[in-house]
Amino acid sequence: MRSSILVSLTRFLRNIGHSFSDRVWRLGAGARLFGLTLMYSGESFRRFHLTIREVYFTGVMSLIIVLVSAFFVGMVLALQGYYTLQKYGSSEAIGVLVALSLIRELGPVVTALLFAGRAGTAITAEIGLMKATEQLAAMEMMAVSPIARVIAPRFWAGVIAMPVLAALFSMVGILGGYMVAVPLIGVDAGAFWSQMQANVDWRLDIVNGVIKSVVFGVACTMIALFEGYDAPPTAEGVSRATTRTVVTSSLAILGLDFVLTSFMISL
């Protein structure tokens, strides 16, 4: 009896150790791929048309989901904001509330979450399947680095696309907020825009929002690339990697958002 408990305990501890060392190993492998991606970026920039092509697939093709979501998020923000603000008699501040919420938080965060679901999964599945069908090995055998030809263009495309998508998200979200606040609820259009203009700061709000979206772009794209590159070359391996991309990216976005916000507020 005692020995069976001991065996179970040993197995439990071994599993924890194995899981921990596996995660540390993956973190190291991910950091190594990130380093290699930066190292091969110069080689990749010489074929900049590949990056442009990937901006189309990751950025332009994500526009519909990002813009439609932004419009609804903006409308809901205006409704919820008006409900609270009217209690304090400051419903004119609805424009500021919508704009600041979108530019500082929701724009970068929700765009990154949508990007991870739409473009991140596509990147992981594509690279995982390229690996499973030996396309990456074939490239290697043709003396062409897959990191320079496949990984780096997708990485830079994600880094370029994310801030642009986040900016568009905020703009369309503000438009959605305006549609609800002004024509529907009846808030004064002049108050809506002028309060927004007076209270949104270039450095503290807009630049910080852009910094967040660039960081999320690096994290999301790198996670998607690593999961695809590291995926076991089987159907199950690719599907698991795709799921991991969404889970890891979402957690990374929310965790990084907290860290970045803390720094930005304390500065």
Partner: protein, 277 residues
């Protein structure tokens, strides 16, 4: 045929051992690949034949010993050195490994665009010439998804010879093909080898097709070269393993049954365990 004059050998494998996850796949393999010949590496599934190609191509590092290409030890090269060596090699992968986002034309043009500064008109002519050599010039506008397995293999072959390599490696070139495609690939391997003056290394377990075109054959089993010789030598071999493999016999040194305990005990044991539970 003698295979021992070092200067004539474009590839040499010397006392090479390779293993991973605690399991040794190769233990002291010696092989030579003379220029201009078609050499086959044969053996059952899982004996590490494809791994040998990856060791020659520098995608894996041996645990012991070395693979040399044109006298240069592959695993001691820098990344640039390995890439220089690979420019002299072409490889046909088992499933073709065509880039699915590029057309047939662009797939064949890929190595030319990456490694040369040729004008577009010359790339166009070269691509069509390579595709014509494999009989698929008319398919240059198709996408890889529109090709049959045999056609994909031929396009991949056209891509492998795009830079006129000195060594062409074939990983299971006949696997999963219909008899017509198999005959076409078989004929192409020999014809292209002789036309380009290249050396071909074929990894396969298809005895009939491989013996038709190979000049020399190595049999790999249990991590070592179990037998070698010309196809005629091996057809008449009395070695039990070679005899079983060449004639496709069900049972022999390679048993039909995977190692297992007593059959009756396995069947009765289940009932006893269930009753006990």
């Amino acid at each position: 045929m003698t295979l021992n004059k070092a200067s004539q050998n474009i590839v040499e494998i010397d006392n090479l051992s390779f293993g991973y996850k605690g399991r040794m796949l190769h233990q002291g393999i010696n092989m030579v690949f003379p220029r201009g010949k078609v050499i086959a590496i044969m053996g059952g599934s899982g004996t590490g034949k494809t791994t040998l190609l990856r060791l020659i191509g520098g995608q894996l590092k041996p645990s012991k010993g070395e693979a040399r290409v044109e006298g240069q030890v592959v695993h001691k090269q820098t990344r640039d050195g390995i890439y220089q060596l690979r420019r002299k090699m072409g490889m046909l992968f088992q499933q073709g490994a065509l880039f699915t986002d590029l057309s047939v034309y662009e797939n064949v043009a890929f190595p030319l665009r990456e490694h040369t500064n040729l004008p577009e008109s010359m790339i166009h002519d070269l691509v069509l010439m390579k595709l014509n050599a494999v009989g698929l010039r008319g398919a240059h506008k198709l996408m890889p998804t529109e090709l049959s397995g045999g056609m994909a293999r031929r396009v991949s072959l056209a891509r492998a010879i795009a830079l006129d390599p000195d060594i062409i490696m074939y990983d299971e070139p006949f696997a999963g093909l219909d008899p017509i495609s198999m005959g076409v690939i078989c004929d192409l391997i020999r014809t292209l080898n002789d036309a380009l003056g290249a050396t071909s290394i074929i990894v396969s377990h298809d005895v009939k097709e491989t013996f038709t075109i190979a000049d020399y054959v190595y049999f790999v089993a249990n991590g070592v070269v179990a037998a070698e010789g010309t196809p005629d030598d091996l057809r008449n071999s009395t070695l039990p393993f070679v005899h079983q493999f060449v004639h496709g016999e069900k049972d022999g040194p390679v048993p039909f049954h995977y190692a297992a305990g007593d059959y009756a005990q396995d069947l009765l044991g289940f009932e006893q365990t269930r009753r006990g539970a």
